[in-house]
Amino acid sequence: MSETAALLARGTEKPSRPAFLSRLRNGDEAAHLITLIFAAAILLIAVLLVLELFRTSVEARHKFGWAFLLTSKWDPVAGQFGALPFIYGTVVTSAVALLISVPLGLGAAIFLSELAPPRVSDALTFIIELLAAVPSVIYGLLAVFALVPLLRDPIQPFLQRYLGFLPLFQGPSYGVGFLAAGLILAIMVVPFIISISRESLLAVPNEQREAALAVGATRWESTWQVVVPYARLGIIGSVFLALARALGETMAVTMVIGNTPQIVTSLFATGYTIPAVIANEFTEATGDLHLSALIELGLVLFLLTIIINGFARLMVLATTRRGSTNP
């Protein structure tokens, strides 16, 4: 009892100045403070980023208001800026990319986590991670010189002959356009889907698989009806991360989209996306209004990817955490 009292008394004593100085000289507080400042730098960058984008796009935001997002006339000479064709192009190319890359990526992730022997799985995962490291301008180079000629000649006429009754596959085949951009995007985002989905699948506890097999399921039934649903949040998260990548991807898309701000149904047609128009017109902008309209497009893209990413991170966090608490 008296000991406790003594401790309490000591606790209420004010730290004397020399003691504080010696603690500082020991360096722990100083180290804490210095590293904290550097960590806080990232918050500063984020805040500055948002502020600058808002500040520099003020002219376009005031002049057009919400109509900026809803009108489709983009005419720098007349000072008319409507972002709808770019938003449309960005959404369509990303949708094509996801339609192709999600089944492909999920299939590959299932193979890597459930079927392949560990050594094969590791080797293939390594290769797939190298793919994620290939710069996007190189994907663009391949898209221009390898993919576009292929699309122009055998693929698009083939699609038109057999699926031409759909409005998606009509019109002349230039090679460049929504389909080319969507395809190259699909190739670019597939590694992200695979590596995150594979991790979520690997985090599924083995008891789940064993229980399904024990009641007589085949291996595929256990995978598809038990393991995949268990990891579904992580898989959905990976799809959203891939979507955010696809929306913001610039170089490869700029090189094959065709640079025409128009809203048409056919995937063979040329179009335009938000990052592509920023990349093409920013250095040649005709005036301040044009610049601020382009920066407002950047702001739209930023907000879109932040929302999608925030959502995806929470989902991935939820699955990996659940996986790690049930080993």
Partner: protein, 280 residues
């Protein structure tokens, strides 16, 4: 066919399909490699590394200025980004409990997903506008903003992987916390941390979108860091979309060089420096 055999058949077909998916994705890498080696190998020569670009129509010429420019821009970005990311990572791993570190972590993850072209707009607003000029410096700022979030998170991840007992051992021997961090924890994680940094640098070295309107481009040597500066990825872009055949050949050569650097950095970082390390 009995139900049992039908189910086994489905089992085999579906797993066969998943294997085909994996194979298809892996083939893409070899397709890229093959295409670049074939086309780039034909047009790569010594002049590429030593000479300035020539105007279209004239044979020869190289991209020496872009190679140097890329190196300069990446150096500036690393000098700014690596210390901030590294020290911030130490904070998150060693002092980071509670709401504020969570906020830092989440912000870093979100910034990591921001399209690189938006970072270019940011650097344009804070560097190019006040200086009234495109410059290597602005390009470096744009790339460092991309580098910081990855560095901070990988540093944290590898420091956290150091066993708690090592920290306790150092503290028990009478070291104070920062001494334990500086002499025990960081050295124990140094390979992983270095891997993360190299991968981050490799990533920004291949970026072109944020450089388009920050470091811009240049057909000559740039005289200072405050001048527009050529970079390899931007050169590939402008040359590839140009209508000239000899520029296309130069673009292939540059693509091959860039991809070789990228793969070399990635493979050496992952295999040599820290085999089996977690990825960023």
């Amino acid at each position: 066919m009995t139900l049992h055999r039908w189910r086994n058949f489905i089992n085999a077909v579906m797993f066969g399909l998943t294997a085909a998916c994996a194979l298809a994705v892996v083939c893409v890498l070899f397709w890229i490699l093959g295409f670049l080696l074939w086309n780039g190998g034909k047009s790569l020569n010594w002049a590429f590394f030593t000479q300035l670009p020539k105007p279209p129509g004239e044979m020869g010429g190289g991209m020496a200025n872009a190679i140097l420019g890329s190196a300069q821009i990446v150096c500036i970005a690393s000098l700014m980004g690596i210390p901030i990311g590294f020290l911030g990572g130490i904070y998150l791993a060693e002092f980071g409990m509670g709401t504020f570190p969570f906020l830092v972590r989440y912000t870093a993850d979100l910034l990591n997903g921001v399209p690189s072209i938006v970072m270019g707009l940011f650097a344009y607003a804070i560097v190019v506008r006040p200086m009234h000029q495109f410059s290597a410096l602005a390009g470096g700022v744009a790339l460092s903003v991309i580098l910081i979030p990855t560095t901070i998170r990988t540093t944290e991840q590898f420091l956290r992987a150091v066993p708690q007992t090592l920290r306790e051992g150092a503290l028990a021997l009478g070291a104070n916390k920062w001494k334990a961090i500086a002499t025990v924890v960081v050295p124990a994680a140094v390979r992983g941390v270095a891997t993360g940094m190299i991968l981050g640098i490799a990533r920004i070295a291949g970026e072109s979108a944020p450089l388009l309107f920050t470091s811009f481009g240049n057909q000559y040597w740039s005289r200072s860091l405050g001048q527009p500066t050529a970079s390899l990825p931007v050169m590939i872009f402008t040359y590839a979309i140009s209508p000239y055949d000899d520029w296309h050949r130069e673009a292939w050569a540059a693509g091959l060089v860039l991809l070789a650097v990228m793969l070399l950095l990635n493979i050496s970082a992952r295999l040599v420096l820290s085999p089996g390390a977690p990825r960023n």
